[in-house]
């Protein structure tokens, strides 16, 4: 079904010890939908995203990813991770492997792909993110922007249905942000379901179907970008927008 719910969260709550980081989260992401999560630091947006592929456990509510119910159980988490790809703020490329080897590691060991097929797939993806000529370089020999593009290709190598991005450009120098955002825009145009935590509001305006604003562990506002940026309903959203758009 075209509008099948890819991610469904109902009444989700999460605590770190006594401190509640997520309060009663209700969120649904349809197939092909692009969601941008934004909010002040400490609002819980990174935690929310990391919850979707099981990197963070949750204590209350229900999370369903592509029909699989995500309980705090190994088998469910493994199944979900097969459908979800993640890109991190600090890239997390494997430093002892080349770019090509970073991409072929999971297909070979998880999907049991023969090496040649895995390498062909890897080169194709590196081509797509315009970095094929660096295939045999090690991460330390690449710039930040190049590393993040390799990281995106690495996540795509597992053919995920959903791509999660946790502040993908926050650790990059300004001149490299564009090359990574360009790749993400292309990915969006191809119909990938994406959940992106970012401060890049330009990206949100052009690509997002919905902007979800979080503050202190709650979803405060959720609206299409035009509505959110031009006529935010809540005071907190207005305050946030004035702070980040002010400079």
């Amino acid at each position: 079904m075209a509008n099948a719910s890819m991610i469904e969260m109902r009444g989700v709550g999460k605590w770190f010890g006594r401190f509640q980081v997520l309060k009663d989260i209700d969120l649904a992401v349809a197939q092909g939908e692009k969601i941008v999560l934004c909010g002040p630091s400490g609002s819980g947006k990174s935690t929310l995203v990391r919850l979707v592929n099981g990197l963070e456990p949750y204590q209350a509510g229900q999370v369903t990813v592509d029909g699989i119910e995500l309980k705090n159980d190994a088998k469910a988490i493994e199944a979900v991770r097969g459908e979800v790809g993640m890109v991190f703020q600090s890239f997390n490329l494997f430093p002892h492997l080349t770019a090509l080897e970073n991409l072929t590691l999971a297909p070979v060991w998880v999907r049991r792909m023969p090496k040649k097929d895995a390498e062909a797939l890897a080169l194709q993806l590196l081509e797509r993110v315009r970095i094929a000529e660096q295939a045999h370089k090690y991460p330390a020999q690449l710039s930040g922007g190049q590393q993040q593009r390799v990281a995106i290709a690495r996540a795509l190598a597992m053919r995920p249905k959903i791509m999660l991005f946790d502040e993908p450009t926050s650790a990059l120098d300004p001149e490299m942000i564009k090359e990574v955002l360009d790749v993400m825009v292309e990915l969006a145009a191809e119909g990938m379901t994406m959940v992106v935590v970012t401060h890049e509001m330009g990206f949100a305006r052009t690509v997002a179907d919905r902007v979800v604003f979080m503050d202190q562990g709650e979803i405060v506002e959720s609206a299409p970008p035009k509505t959110f940026f031009e006529a935010p309903r809540t005071e907190r959203a207005r305050l946030f927008l004035s702070q980040i758009l002010g400079h």
Partner: protein
């Protein structure tokens, strides 16, 4: 500028050369005055002293000094090799225990490390030696914690298998098993590259290396004749025996070095960023695969250099044997020096041996480092 630099260096060389000449000429004079010969001729003379432990090479007081020193060298290697293996095992266990989520285990491991690292090794050796020789009962009232294993103030004795023809065959089976395991692993990884099917190299290898000798053993009728230590007169005879000196030295060295290795292992594991395992899990890799393919290679790069350093330290520290009475290289060279007066040659031998060991291990380490070093950062 250049001329000044060259002149300064020449002056330095001249000064060093002068000092060396001065010391050498004094030495020659003093040796003549004391009627001590120079050179290594004394090595072929009869040693005239007994050595308490000579397990691999027969030795008697009528043998030459050279042979005595060789025995000392073998004894040093005995302690060093066993110490290195045991210390690595114990150190890794303690290091990982320190990272455990179990509070008791982590604190216990931390206590062990703090205690052993802050007391001099020599004190620890004396302590263990005192426990064995003073606090263990005599052979007649020896402790027997396990059947056949006897602890007394004469040392530790335990049963060993009687020598049997099948042992040679088992050794051959072990070697064959190792070779087959290696070949199987290679074949397996080739197949994986071709078809994607993974091959359980580790389990197969273990099965071959352990299973083949076992099969040979069983085929020969499983000869289980044990030589047990039996009390005869004032000591135990039969089986294998560890003297108090050997036990104290090896035990002390092992426990001490293990404390340092524990810290190295802990630092190595902690050095790998948490993001690495998160990225691997996100890609769908299991815990075991993540540890083997992502964490371990990175941790080992951090662990191996200081680890080899500790191995070197253990070998050098084995020279403390002279204080306990274990006949290692330094001990026997010392006795030789005392008897013949050939102090310079004796010390030269000691230093030459240890330098060779140190430099070889350093060279191996540097070679290994260059090969596995993470390709450098951009300038």
């Amino acid at each position: 500028m250049r001329a000044r630099a060259v002149a300064a260096q020449l002056a330095l060389l001249a000064a060093v050369a002068f000092v060396v000449w001065y010391l050498a000429s004094n030495t020659v004079q003093n040796l003549e005055a004391r009627k001590i010969a120079s050179g290594f001729g004394f090595l072929s003379r009869e040693a005239g002293f007994e050595i308490g432990e000579a397990p691999f090479l027969a030795y008697s007081a009528a043998d030459s000094y050279a042979r005595a020193i060789l025995i000392g060298l073998i004894n040093t290697f005995r302690v060093a090799l066993i110490g290195v293996v045991l210390a690595t095992v114990i150190g890794t266990v303690v290091g990982l225990a320190r990272l455990s989520r179990n509070w008791l285990l982590a604190k216990l491991a931390a206590g062990y490390v703090e205690l052993l690292r802050n007391v001099p090794l020599l004190v620890q050796l004396f302590f263990i030696y005192a426990v064995i020789t003073e606090n263990l009962p005599g052979p007649r009232q020896a402790l027997e914690p396990l059947p056949g294993v006897v602890l007394s103030n004469r040392g530790i004795a335990f049963p060993v298998l009687e020598p049997h023809a099948v042992h040679a065959w088992m050794g051959a089976a072990l070697a064959a098993g190792a070779v087959l395991a290696w070949l199987a692993a290679r074949w397996g990884s080739r197949r994986q590259a071709r078809t994607g099917k993974p091959f359980p190299a580790l389990t197969t290898g273990a099965a071959l290396v352990l299973g083949l000798p076992l099969a040979v053993f069983l085929a020969a009728g499983a000869p289980l004749a044990l030589a047990r230590p039996v009390l005869q007169g004032f000591n135990f005879v039969g089986g294998a025996a560890l003297t108090p000196e050997f036990a104290a030295l090896t035990g002390g060295l092992t426990l001490y070095t293990a404390a340092f290795i524990a810290e190295i292992v802990r630092a190595g594991v902690l050095s790998v960023d948490r993001g690495q395992s998160e990225a691997a899990y996100s890609l769908g890799l299991s815990r075991r695969r993540t540890t083997r393919l992502v964490i371990l290679p990175q941790a080992l790069r951090v662990i191996v250099p200081p680890l080899t350093s500790q191995y070197l330290n253990l070998t050098k520290n084995s020279s403390l044997a002279v204080a306990i009475g274990y006949p290692d290289l330094v001990s026997i060279a010392n006795t030789t020096m005392n008897q013949t007066g050939q102090a310079i040659e004796g010390i030269a031998i000691i230093m030459a041996v240890y330098l060779t060991i140190s430099l070889s291990i350093s060279a191996l380490m540097n070679g290994y480092n260059k090969r596995i070093a993470l390709k450098g950062a951009r300038r």
